[in-house]
Subunit: 210 residues, 2 copies
DNA sequence: TTACAATTGTGAAATGTTACACTAATGAGG
DNA sequence: CCTCATTAGTGTAACATTTCACAATTGTAA
């Protein structure tokens, strides 16, 4: 008991949650099984059962899992039963896209601020948000007790801003800058560099002849 | 001999490559070591050496790795010695951001086409590219022998388009739609749903009291 | 009421990954 | 030439993750 739950298990839970949400939306079934989930996700049913078993017994032999109940349980486990307020840092093309993406809503996140250092962009309106000057970033995080940030700035600026926002209280960073960030223990970072992901795929491809 | 190289090893190579590129740009050293790389990336030096040893002997005892040489070797391993031509599917806010991102250049990728089904967007110019109608997608992939695609469309459209582009010859897909794609064997897919990444982090955070 | 198909949760086995610890090579400095 | 600090590559041990396989439970249908 009291074992650490592997990171890799945590990483799959949001995927399960997303798949369950689709099943719920389809509205055809109130129940599902590890086999169905596994088939949809390309994961073995045993792994899904094992993963869930770290947190409790959510299913029923013979009938499987009640979709809505499992969704609620997963949301609790992942701390998504409250809505996390998020700052976006950088209002260039990517920040602009993030501000306009409505997929955060209903999945646990609410983008409430967007910042940039470019005075031509500051003050502009993006999907209901007004771009703030980056000088106000530190105070905003501090005063509003924001814990989650999305970094959408050039690589050169990323580490400096990271140090600043961590000092101000940020505890989770989704980083789009193509650079490896260094953060203190206890601060979560996820990296999202599209080129890294594409380079990972080309290894398996046969290069074009030209 | 002839062993399969683990996916997880392949996944780290692009990260090594990116770090080496920064070291090369800094221009202060022509050589580096597994220890330095590890320190920068938060990875153990033993792991870096082990990973590289799958592909050959690139270093020299006592002196480490020649940065430029290792960069070239990694680019070859990852099939980045030719430039991959890429189609972006979806010219909404995200597609727009991708079209304007110049970070693909010099890292092995060249976005040459962008498609959308919205006639109000088709014909618009984005960073030198003209948005094409999605009806031309299949023929373009086929005729130009494109193997890499970035999907930036709503979830509802993603699987249908995936089936279409795979049939047309696409072999690697970077998917931004918040849905799990099903593809035939031999087709690579990487998923990039920001919400999944954020949900993974909130598990480790203490939720705000409100 | 009984038989049966479906399904979970889980120990144990199998497989995969990382870390350790050591040998051998290298170059710098005396 | 010798010594020493540095470092790669690697076999093996330690650790982590996945898969297997099965008992137990459930609901359905005869």
């Amino acid at each position: 008991m009291g074992n650490e739950i592997p990171d890799i298990v945590i990483g799959r839970l949001p995927v399960y949650l997303r798949a369950l949400t689709y099943i719920a939306q389809e509205g055809e079934k109130t129940n599902t099984s590890s086999h169905e989930l596994g088939r949809r996700l390309g994961i073995s049913s045993a792994q899904i059962r094992k993963d869930l078993s770290h947190f409790g017994e959510f299913g029923k032999q013979g009938t499987g899992y009640h979709v809505q109940y499992l969704i609620e349980q997963l949301r609790q486990i992942l701390h998504l039963d409250v809505e996390w307020r998020v700052v976006v840092i950088g209002a260039g093309f990517l920040g602009h896209a993030l501000a306009h993406y409505n997929g955060f809503q209903h999945r646990g996140f609410d983008i409430q601020w967007i910042f940039d250092n470019n005075s031509e962009i500051v003050g502009r309106e993006m999907n209901g948000l007004v771009v703030q000057h980056i000088d106000e970033l530190e105070d905003t995080i501090w005063e509003e007790k924001i814990q989650v940030a999305i970094l959408a700035v050039p690589a050169e600026a990323a580490q400096g801003l990271t140090d600043l926002i961590v000092k101000a209280g940020i505890r989770a960073i989704l980083n789009y800058a193509p650079i490896n960030l260094t953060v203190p223990d206890g601060v979560q970072v996820m990296h999202s560099d599209p080129v890294i992901q594409m380079q990972r795929m080309t290894y398996y491809l046969v290069p074009p002849k030209r």
